[in-house]
Symmetry: C2
Subunit: 205 residues, 2 copies
Amino acid sequence: MEQEFSSTLLENAVTAFSRLPGVGRKTALRFALHLLRRDPDEAVSIGEAIIRMRQGIRYCSVCHNISEDEVCPVCSDPQRQKSIVCVVENVKDVMIIENTRRYFGLYHVLGGLISPVDGIGPDRLEIASLIERARSGDIEEIILATGATVEADTTNFYIYRLLSKSAPDVKITQLARGVSVGNELEYTDEATLARSIISRTPFEL
Amino acid sequence: MEQEFSSTLLENAVTAFSRLPGVGRKTALRFALHLLRRDPDEAVSIGEAIIRMRQGIRYCSVCHNISEDEVCPVCSDPQRQKSIVCVVENVKDVMIIENTRRYFGLYHVLGGLISPVDGIGPDRLEIASLIERARSGDIEEIILATGATVEADTTNFYIYRLLSKSAPDVKITQLARGVSVGNELEYTDEATLARSIISRTPFEL
């Protein structure tokens, strides 16, 4: 590709920034020029933070969440309930569930969802290691906490079939589907409303 | 501030990214998680490109454009017309004008515009050095190539007054204002249309 800027150093920085998701060359140039106007230490500390993060963070050997150690803080926390495992698509979903402060079990990060269109088969995901964990005998319940998409449904069904064969004693649950808290019926889509009628729960005060 | 993520390394990287213009913590987290999914070399090369850029790029001692050397490639190019200086607000404007491939003179980057509201006075800009260049005797024309904002008008007026006193022989020009090429009259604002009538030019084939 032809070089766009007179400075190769600027060119390289713009190319580097534009490898970030959703960042085009215009935004990348804005980032670079911003840093050039600021104190040199700021750019250095940003660059070093990126390098240190990537070199220092690995994946937990048990649940595949990000971790600075061999086993992540959740898996090694003696306070967490070891008999429940919450299966999520990615690392961010762990953060989202942790932020609710309502879940005290362990996690299992799949690293994606089965998607034949994108060429992602079950072997590219951490499904085999989930089955292995389930067969170890320590786990009583597995919560399938994926989103409500076609890929999530496919993945859940695939995991459900494997689990019911290899670990039939493990209870398999999924997140409740229904009307969002604070939402009016008028703004709830029909499919969700239908599910919320079928899955209605006893009224309790 | 309370730490948001379990990993300090992730926390630091998110904080670093969120110092970029227009990047909030959500986008910063997206950047970080993206890099964690990619090859470690990619994050390292991005980090290093940022650091190298900031440490290797300085400002041209003549025109204040970014440069890897004491004097920038434009100022040191023997092919460029040394008698014309185009005054621009910032480094990006130099790139924009260079991209037209219709300007062959030199530049002078002010580093901003006079803006009393933002507390930017003339002394914070490269105006004194422009006057000095104009007084050197090598310059025949100075093009005020700022935008068409109130701040630009203020800055241009300020520079014009100083130049007409200290370098009365230098011709001062500004970019033509008028209907955009390819634009219909219907979509041209009244102020621009009025200027384009006043500044009408001979019809030439």
